[in-house]
């Protein structure tokens, strides 16, 4: 039970119940769709990108608590960040979840996002947490194709 509580921390459950920035963004100039065919998680990320700065960001979709809260916290963390800062954060986040060396160094930079550290113990769920970030990446790249975790 203890590792389950590590996974489903209160902050995460709160973002799942009341996702932030959970709507279509009027005036968005970047959007991307992400999809996890294994479990059917689906997400659309909307973004207002000006001079390589994320002025505003939101998302819509359906998915498990991990993917939904990850998307919610991602949007909260990225407002006002530059493209480079967003990509760096994604790298830290990814490293933390996959337990890559140097992951510790990034935990500080991750701030509240460090709450997802517990996902590391559930390898099958890593894709749930990274789906919103892969979708963000696609939006930043301006790719028209939906991204898939497979």
């Amino acid at each position: 039970m203890s590792d389950l509580r590590d996974l489903y921390q209160e902050v995460l459950l709160d973002h799942n119940r009341r996702p932030r920035n959970f709507q279509k963004l009027e005036g968005a100039n970047r959007t991307a769709e992400g999809y996890n065919p294994l479990c059917g998680d689906q997400i659309t990320v909307y973004m207002k990108l000006e001079d390589d700065v994320i002025r505003d960001i939101s998302f819509q979709g359906s998915g498990c608590a991990i993917s939904k809260s990850a998307a919610s916290m991602m949007t909260a963390a990225l407002k006002g960040k530059t493209r480079g800062e967003a990509e760096a954060l994604f790298q830290h986040f990814h490293n933390m979840l996959t337990g890559k060396p140097g992951a510790e160094g990034g935990t500080e930079a991750l701030g509240k996002l460090a709450v997802f550290a517990g996902v590391c113990e559930f390898p099958i769920r890593v894709k749930c947490a990274t789906l919103p970030w892969h979708t963000l990446h696609a939006a930043l790249e301006g790719k028209g194709e939906p991204v898939s975790t497979e």
Partner: protein, 432 residues
Amino acid sequence: MTSAGGTLTNAKAKAKAAAPAAAGRAARLDVEAIRRDFPILRQTVHGRPLVYLDNAATSQKPQAVIDAVTRYYGAENSNVHRGVHFLSEQATQAYEGVRGTVREFLNAAEDREILFVRGTTEGINLVAQSYGRAALRAGDEVVISGMEHHSNIVPWQMVCEATGAVLRVVPITDAGEVELEVYERLLNARTRLVAIVHISNVLGSINPVKQMIAMARRWNARVLVDGAQAVPHLPVDVRDLDCDFYVFSGHKLLGPTGIGILYGRAELLEGMPPYQGGGDMISSVTFEKTRYNTIPYKFEAGTPHIAGAIGLGAAIDYVQGVGLDRIAAYEDELLGYGTAALSAIPGLRLIGTAPAKAAVLSFVLDDAHAHDVGTILDREGVAIRAGHHCAMPLMQRFGVPATARASLAFYNTRDEIDALVRAIQKVKEIFG
């Protein structure tokens, strides 16, 4: 849907007629003894006894099947059909013997109507690519239902794309039954083929396939039945059903993965072009002209999964030893217990409530996504499946992104249902 209910009643009535003591014996099905035959069930997962409720994905294997495969590789391994030596003769006999076992199991007329394939998916693709491509013309219609597994949708989309035939889909009711009246109206002179699942892998619904086949016959349409979920749970008689093709996988029937069966009527198989070319499927080859072998070998190019076939034979022997009538009765009772237990949980909605139903319990919870349910249950030792179950159109039909699915087998117990319920309570504690 009284017709669907009628089928189950018929199946049960038939089982009773065939073995009058079945009902009495069913109560005495010794589950503890049966469980001892399945070594995998003895283990613990995350420190808790394994509660395996993912049988619709794949069944566990009894020691008899494991032994048969081990014995083959340890003492009998040899290639079939071509060798003149002792081992090859033994292997050929064992392999071909299983064809007979399967024929009896399905009550097919002849051994040569039994084709070894990799599984249900390959069996359906074989029919679509061989029979479908040759028989379908632009404007012809192929009918499937709204509860099909992707493996009984995509092969037909592919062949329709190639031939210009049209795919028609029979809708299903809120309870999860085929809308028979709509199906009947959908059939017409252009209907060439009906492909229908016998038991839904998501809903557990037992479709009234015999009735549906009779309806298709009036229009001279051919019928393929996807029996992947049916053969482990109820007796199947292809001649009584009057189907043209019947397909199933070995691994859902206590057998090895990578082996499955396609039953086809001999006269249809004989007229069909080969699916794959290679060794064993020919009678003579020159660079100018190749003569194909007779059925079933025409459809079995290359060295087959001999060990898999032998394991499947042992699996069928095991199932027959327990008795499918007893298995069906026991599982039905377990399903009743599970349905009552899950229905009593507030905020839980069962998906698939057809009166004629096999032991599948698909559900969604108000507060938790199926994927989260799956993870939490796993930590309690309870193995279920979460997701779209390769039936995305069906998920759409019920307006859910995914379901959690507990699928039962005859080695499951009421205690395990209780463990499932306790684990769902944990989900509610975390997400409540």
